[in-house]
């Protein structure tokens, strides 16, 4: 199948998935207790005031017709206005995309560095104390709550050593970078163990392959064997769990954003769910859904790129 045809099929499938996910989230958030109109006017307002606001927001229409109106507008990228804040959803979500992407990107990059180096060290010295130590460290990293580790980092590097800000995103590029260091390290440490295990086991499998032995027999240096042959093939296995890893990173980022006061999509999701701000929640669900779908397609493309035996 050619690349164009493949992408075409995947994208139309993705569109269906997005529609279903959005519809389900739309219905679910309205079934959970909590009325944004009542939240907006407060506990002491009369029921008439609440009903008037519900009518104004279109919340008194039947669920399916509300869903239809939303889908129609969403298709034109019109996500409406926030209920609790005087702003369009686009203006609330827009500025938060870059901080979130920067955090997730930096976090994943750090996770990759940690996972690759530790997995290589463990696989090459299989069953030595280094291997066991690395596997132990990996378990600790996996079990450690990210908000706790983040606070420890902030305490040590922010408060005790004064090298970095304890929280916040700042206003200049330099401050953004400074503010993202600790949260990115926290996220990287949280995600690395997932990559580390699969990478280590796939490295071990690869090391046992005939072509590695053949390469060694031909006199290729160890470094060349490891980097040019073993690692490339092992990464393929890791890439298959990329979707899981990104999902983990995105959900971990929600907590980390709150701890470090990074104005990203995760903290917006938390606050809009707390106030039942339906338009914002819906827009974020669409955005996250699109991200997961995009990552899934990228996942397959990367895997095909890395392993020539795989046909799209």
């Amino acid at each position: 199948m050619s690349l164009a045809k493949y992408l075409g099929a995947r994208l139309s499938y993705a569109a269906i998935v997005l529609i279903v996910v959005t519809f389900v989230a739309f219905i679910m958030i309205r079934l959970v207790p909590g009325d944004p109109a009542r939240k907006a006017v407060g506990p002491y307002a009369s029921q008439e005031s609440v009903d008037a606001l519900r009518h104004e927001l279109g919340l008194d229409q039947p669920l399916l017709s509300q869903a239809f109106v939303f889908m129609k507008d969403a298709a034109r990228f019109d996500f409406g206005s926030s209920i609790t804040q005087n702003a369009t959803v686009a203006s609330l979500v827009g500025p938060r995309i870059v901080p979130s992407l920067a955090l997730a990107g930096a976090g994943l990059a750090i996770a990759l560095v940690i996972a690759t180096s530790l997995a290589l060290a463990a696989a090459r010295r299989r069953d030595t104390w280094i291997d066991h130590a690395i596997r132990g460290v990996s378990s600790v990293m996996l079990a450690m709550p990210s908000f706790w580790f983040g606070l420890i980092l902030a305490l040590v590097f922010g408060y005790k050593l004064g090298l970095l800000p304890t929280s916040g995103y700042g206003y200049t590029f330099g401050e953004h970078v400074q503010g993202l260091v600790l949260p990115a390290v926290t996220l990287g440490v949280a995600v690395a163990p997932l990559m580390l295990r699969t990478l280590r086991s796939s490295l071990l499998d690869t090391f046992g392959q005939d072509y590695i032995e053949a390469a060694r027999a031909r006199g290729l240096s160890n470094r060349r064997v490891v980097w040019r042959h073993a690692l490339r093939n092992s990464l393929a296995a890791t890439v298959t769990v990329l979707g899981v890893i990104v999902g983990y990173a995105v959900s971990g980022a929600v907590v980390i954003e709150s701890v470090f006061a990074i104005p990203g999509l995760g903290s917006l999701l938390v606050s809009s769910v707390a106030t039942r701000d339906f338009p914002v929640i819906q827009a974020l669900v669409v955005l996250f859904g699109a991200l997961v779908v995009a990552v899934s397609i990228l996942n397959d493309l990367l895997y095909a790129a890395l392993d020539p035996r795989v046909r799209l």
Partner: protein, 533 residues
């Protein structure tokens, strides 16, 4: 691809090889860039260069757990929003720290006539932050906005006895009431009673006003970056001479409790609000920090929905009150900084300190409980609130001694609120900090809970509601005071719940910062704050 010694790896198509070859080095280069960039940035920008704490001496940086939702004072202000509104706007009368009696604000004097049915306010000379004079038209406009459910759905009920607001003379406004409302001045001192400029508001409309609000308060809004910070600048036209002391207040939004305290300790901010109880002791002992705790009009309590349950019996509710270890809860949950509650509503005007709170006595409780069979009760709490979880545990074990089996129902804030408003609960604990009064007058909460029963507590007491209605229209202050104290006493004897503690407002600051003080409804006035550098 061929290696140097002729070993060939078969590839089926050349294009895939190129993609893969390009991907890995790029990935490694990207990582390297990130690492180098962050290291360079950290080296370049040391902590001391961060603007905020080290800025000019007329500026203060202050970290809060919340940020305002809007700037329209008649648009349902929650406590977080009220905190900012009170700096931007003035009211006819204002609450100043140290007293619950409203003081002259934009009204320099007033007369109450006609048995308490007519208030005549004389305005002082004052200007909005855009230089325009504050006129009687602005006052009439603002008060009419405040009392209309369309423009002020959340708090117009406070002003429902106002029949008309009219101009008497160029600087006098008359407010006529349908019946005496002794709490009116207190209501007018709350954020919904803020005076906004009519001409400017009509010109820009509600949305435009919210984006660029104009008031006559000590500060004006300079910048609002949602999710990050809010900057207030001095209002050069503010009518109180010499105030505000600060040129600028930068309010940072740091929702995580621990991160906020860390920001204070590390010197990034000069002051932080909402200090978690667990950290109070360590801040007190830190020698570069000062802790300010002051009991405000905030109560922590359990409410009951009495319909169709053993909780209908007064003796059962009294027994549960005797079975709640208030002093232990104060010590364990509130680090001993709260005050054991002796009233069903917070400490407001006319609070009587001599009313005795329930003492913790299981024998007394058992005696009151008598032959009532043990029953189950579901206690709804906000699961994310530490204080609620701790109190729920304590209550569960204490009430268990009476044979009352408590099952804790932990939900998120929005669900808790929705269920409470609908009456879908048996017992519910208010989360820490949420049980505040919007005004210093007890009338608001007494009417809402005893008369209107907005939380569906379904209590059957008729004596207290009648007294509340009477106190609400009694203009004679000493008679009113006696009635309110009687309501406190009687209410506690036939309680609609279990009052636990009067919570303190908690602010910590760098030594040298002074002038912070809180008023009863729970907000901090910033015009007297000094950065002290």
């Amino acid at each position: 691809m061929r290696s140097r010694n002729g070993y060939a790896l078969k590839r089926r198509s050349g294009s895939r090889m190129t993609l893969r070859a390009a991907l890995l080095p790029f990935g490694i280069a990207a990582c390297a860039m990130v690492v180098v960039a962050t290291a360079a940035a950290s080296a370049m920008y040391s902590n001391a260069a961060t603007p905020s704490a080290a800025a000019q001496s007329g500026s203060l940086t202050y970290a809060r757990a919340d940020e305002p939702s809007k700037f329209d004072p008649q648009g349902v202000p929650d406590l977080a929003t009220a905190q900012v509104l009170i700096q931007l706007y003035d009211q006819l009368v204002e609450l100043l720290p140290g007293s619950d009696v409203p003081q002259p604000g934009l009204a320099k004097s007033w007369r109450i006539t006609d048995g308490g049915r007519t208030y005549t306010f004389t305005l002082r000379e004052a200007r909005f932050s855009n230089g325009d004079r504050v006129t009687v038209d602005d006052v009439v406009f603002s008060l009419n906005r405040a009392r209309s459910p369309k423009t002020d759905p959340g708090f117009s009920f406070l002003f429902d006895t106002i029949r008309s607001v009219s101009v008497r003379r160029p600087s006098t406004v008359a407010v006529r009431l349908s019946k005496p409302t002794p709490a009116l001045l207190g209501y007018l001192s709350a954020p919904p009673g803020s005076i906004i400029p009519k001409a400017y508001f009509s010109q820009v409309g509600p949305k435009g006003f919210d984006k660029a609000p104009i008031g006559s308060g000590p500060f004006q809004l300079d910048e609002f970056t949602r999710g990050q910070r809010l900057v207030l600048k001095r209002n050069p036209y503010y009518w109180r001479r010499g105030k505000p002391v600060l040129d600028e207040v930068v309010q940072l939004y740091i929702p995580d409790d621990n991160a906020r305290v860390l920001a204070l300790r590390s010197g990034r901010v000069d002051a932080a609000d909402g200090i978690p109880y667990a950290q109070l002791k360590s801040i007190e002992s830190a020698n570069n920090l000062r802790l300010l705790t002051k009991v405000a009009g905030i109560i922590d309590a359990i409410y009951f929905n009495q319909s169709g349950s053993p909780l209908r019996e007064t003796k059962v509710r009294q027994a549960l009150n005797h079975a709640t270890p208030l002093r232990s809860i104060n010590r364990v949950v509130f680090a001993g900084k709260a005050q054991v509650a002796n009233s069903l509503i917070p400490r407001l005007r006319f609070w009587d300190p001599r009313v005795k709170p329930y003492d913790y006595s299981i024998p007394k409780a058992k005696k009151l409980f008598g032959s009532t069979p043990g029953f189950s009760v579901s206690l709804m709490i906000v699961g994310t609130d530490t204080a609620s979880r701790q109190i729920a545990q304590i209550v569960q074990s204490s009430w268990g001694k009476l044979g009352v089996r408590v099952s804790v129902r932990a939900v998120d804030t929005a669900t808790w609120f929705a269920e409470l408003i609908k009456g879908n609960y048996q017992a519910s604990l208010i989360p820490s900090g949420a049980g505040n009064s919007d005004v210093a007058e007890p009338d608001e909460l007494l009417n809402l809970f005893w008369v209107a029963d907005v939380l569906h507590m379904n209590h059957e007491n008729t004596q207290v509601p009648a007294l509340v209605k009477e106190a609400s229209v009694t203009q004679d202050m000493s008679k009113r005071g006696r009635l309110l104290k009687r309501i406190q006493r009687l209410g506690l004897r036939d309680p609609y719940g279990v009052p636990i503690a009067f919570e303190p407002a908690r602010m910590a600051m760098r030594r040298g910062v002074s002038g912070f003080d809180v008023v009863t409804p729970g907000w901090w006035r910033l015009e007297t704050v000094r950065a002290g550098r």
